[in-house]
Amino acid sequence: MPVAFFGHGTPLNALRDNEHTRAWARFGTELPPPRAILVVSAHWYVAGTKLTAGASPRTVHDFGAWAPPELFAVDYGAPGSDALVERVRALVAPFPVEADTSWGFDHGAWSVLVHAFPQACVPVVQLSIDRRQPPAFHYALGARLAPLRDEGILVIGSGNVVHNLELFRGEAGEESWPARFERCVRDWIIACDHDALIDYHRQGSDARLAIPTPDHYLPLLYVVAQQRDDDPVRVITEGAHGAMSMLSVALG
């Protein structure tokens, strides 16, 4: 099973038919059916490492009143999987991971899954990002999840490698800093340059503008941590729009 990172962009992508969402849908159809999906979403960025537990986690509408009613009406009704929760806990033991029933599937997960797995029949579990921890921790935790690939579990990271809402209307074009940094990240993934990806804060001003806060970038580290030497790298879609990158890649 490959691992994949999705640049999810705006939550409105859940409702849109565009080049990116069509690419996500193609990814879902071209994949061997996964037994379950583990999603690391930028939008569950909390003080602790947690997993969504229970048979039917709720669909979380984690955006403001600006969103249209159709977006609040999305209900991604995939089942949860306590078996996967227990498997992940076993893989990362003795590091403690809390089984959580308060959160559910947030838009980082379902805005992609409604396109890639529209039937919502594959069980889904979300893994939170412990905001207290440095990048190397997230990479190491991701590496502990690597055996899931051989067990038919699809691990997805969902965020954006360029995500700066304050500068959203600022830059465009191939030579703009968002486009430059998106290409950098893509090239580091292709070259398996994980040190560069982990030490992103040392990669100059483009990186500092692209990753003002770590939440949308860290899901990528969970994915590349599972990259194998012989994994083909497939760019599912890409493109920096304003200060947001839609770069989505599959490894393996």
Partner: protein, 157 residues
């Protein structure tokens, strides 16, 4: 002074200020023991934020610095520089959203002092505002209303 000490001292001062801000914000109501209720509240920072006395960026910065403080209190060798970095980002962009690139070193001490000073200024400004009070109650009218509601309520007791 160590980073752990700076964070501890600054976070204790902020916690005290949150309680003072809530007390200053809540109308005088001694018969309901406002002080005791405020002191029992959990997560006063979020209440101060909901009251509009902390901006979103200030709230994030204060939250993150408190996380760093808690981490160092629990495990003194914890790595928290990334947290100070993130708090510094939220704080500076709460002042100017375009203050994106910053060549200086993030300072937990400066961030905590800044937060303390702005919160003290807001507490003092609240004290100068006229007290907010609801119109006086009319006990007779209220009693009639409650009796009428009871008579209209046909649900099982």
């Amino acid at each position: 002074m160590s980073l752990a000490h700076t964070l501890r001292e600054g976070c204790v001062q902020l916690e005290r200020l949150y309680a003072e801000l809530i007390r200053a914000y809540v109308p005088e109501n001694p018969q309901y023991e406002v002080r005791r209720i405020v002191e029992d509240l959990h997560n006063k920072r979020e209440i101060v934020y909901v009251m509009g006395l902390l901006s979103e960026g200030e709230n994030e910065a204060a939250l993150i610095l408190a996380l760093a403080d808690a981490m160092l209190a629990q495990t003194p060798e914890s790595e928290v520089s990334h947290l100070v970095d993130e708090a510094w980002y939220y704080l500076r962009t709460s002042i100017d959203p375009l203050w994106q690139l910053d060549d200086g070193t993030p300072s937990a001490g400066a961030a905590l002092t800044y937060l303390r000073e702005v919160l003290e200024a807001r507490r003092d400004a609240l004290a100068l505002l006229p007290p907010r009070a609801l119109p006086p109650d009319d006990p007779g009218r209220n009693a009639r209303r409650l009796r009428a509601l009871r008579e209209a309520d046909t649900r099982p007791v």
